[in-house]
Symmetry: C2
């Protein structure tokens, strides 16, 4: 009975890792759609978000059933509760990737990101995608050390966002108000993807060690 419980819980965790891979692909494709003004890819990310939402619903139902079926022991309870949170974080990252794709679609056939900010967004998107990958991998490998390093990537993300603001709010912004607004919102979406990756990593650490990262409260989604 308990072995069976543990097996079910491990299959939930494995599927969470799979979901993180689907989210990583969504972030990568949304970025490609954005930077190459690729309408069909943008549409694919937007319609593909319902598959990620389905994973969320299905995994959530399995967590509820694990909570209801049998009082889990301490480590199991911690894992189920953390899984419930991670599945919500991942679904939200999927939504944010779809938001990026929607701006790409809205501006098609133009590219929403002006030439001068393409390098910044290329870097920002790469950091975000790697953060999602690291969060998923650290869960798969139960690697608290890797999970803990995500805070550094998050600082890099903050720097990139600040640099965007310097460009769009500079005296010599050569593009439209519309482009500035798009850049501000797109930057916000990538920043939030990164935030959710950090939160997910904190939950990975919690599952492994039972502790929150030193000096931190449990971060809020």
């Amino acid at each position: 009975m308990r072995d069976n419980y543990r097996e079910n819980l491990e299959s939930v965790v494995a599927d969470l890792v799979g979901m993180s891979e689907a989210v990583q692909v969504a972030v990568r494709q949304a970025t490609q759609a954005l930077l190459e003004a690729d309408l069909s890819l943008a549409e694919a990310v937007i319609s593909g978000d319902s598959a990620i939402d389905k994973m969320h619903d299905e995994l959530e139902a399995r967590c509820f059933s694990l909570l209801a079926r049998q009082a889990p022991v301490a480590g199991e309870l911690r894992t189920v509760v953390a899984a419930l949170r991670m599945v919500a974080d991942l679904a939200r990252m999927g939504d944010l990737a779809a938001h990026v794709a929607k701006i790409a679609r809205l501006r098609f056939p133009e590219r929403a990101v002006p030439e001068g900010l393409v390098p910044n967004f290329t870097l920002m998107a790469r950091v975000a995608e790697e953060m999602v990958a690291t969060a998923g991998r650290s869960l798969r490998e139960r690697n608290a050390h890797d999970a803990g390093r995500l805070a550094d990537s998050d600082e890099e993300m903050d720097e990139l966002r600040k640099s965007q603001f310097r460009v769009i709010l500079g005296q010599d912004w050569p593009y439209t108000v519309e482009a500035a607004v798009d850049v501000a919102l797109l930057g916000r979406y990538y920043e939030r993807i990164a935030d959710h990756a950090v939160i997910m990593a904190a939950r990975v650490i919690y599952v492994i060690t039972g502790l929150l990262p030193e000096g931190e409260n449990w971060p809020v989604a």
Copy 2:
């Protein structure tokens, strides 16, 4: 033993209602700080967010302890799981109110919102604040009907946001790029407060009826 369990659960719900009231105040004060360029009020909202985060941590710990202590029966389990989610939604709404206050602080002594958009933001903030109040009240009164009506307010919010975009992206935007960017981000923050209120209301309905609102998946934070 079970009576004690139920009492503890009801005290968690009562404190969630209290937390929703604190969030409502934060939204109202952040708006006032924003529209009146009131620096000390902005500072108060920003530093006051840690009190909301503390409520989050404390309520979350009580939910974990309820999950761990004794296998709850179906309705109780539903309530504990929903409470865990609601407490995260409320903490996030508090963060968003602090984000609004931070923009107010950043632009002080100027007002971040240009004259022409003050009526729009006044309305938007009122809708957001009422949505938080309705979500909290429907939880206190176990009123699924009121909770269900929040979807209408959310449509009003969407309309207000669209109208903002029409103004800032219109040919005759008379203000700076900076003001347009502030408006776009502020609009996003209020919209997200409203989203979280709708998600919270869906959870209230779930606690009362055991069902998600008709034709909807469980919304994601």
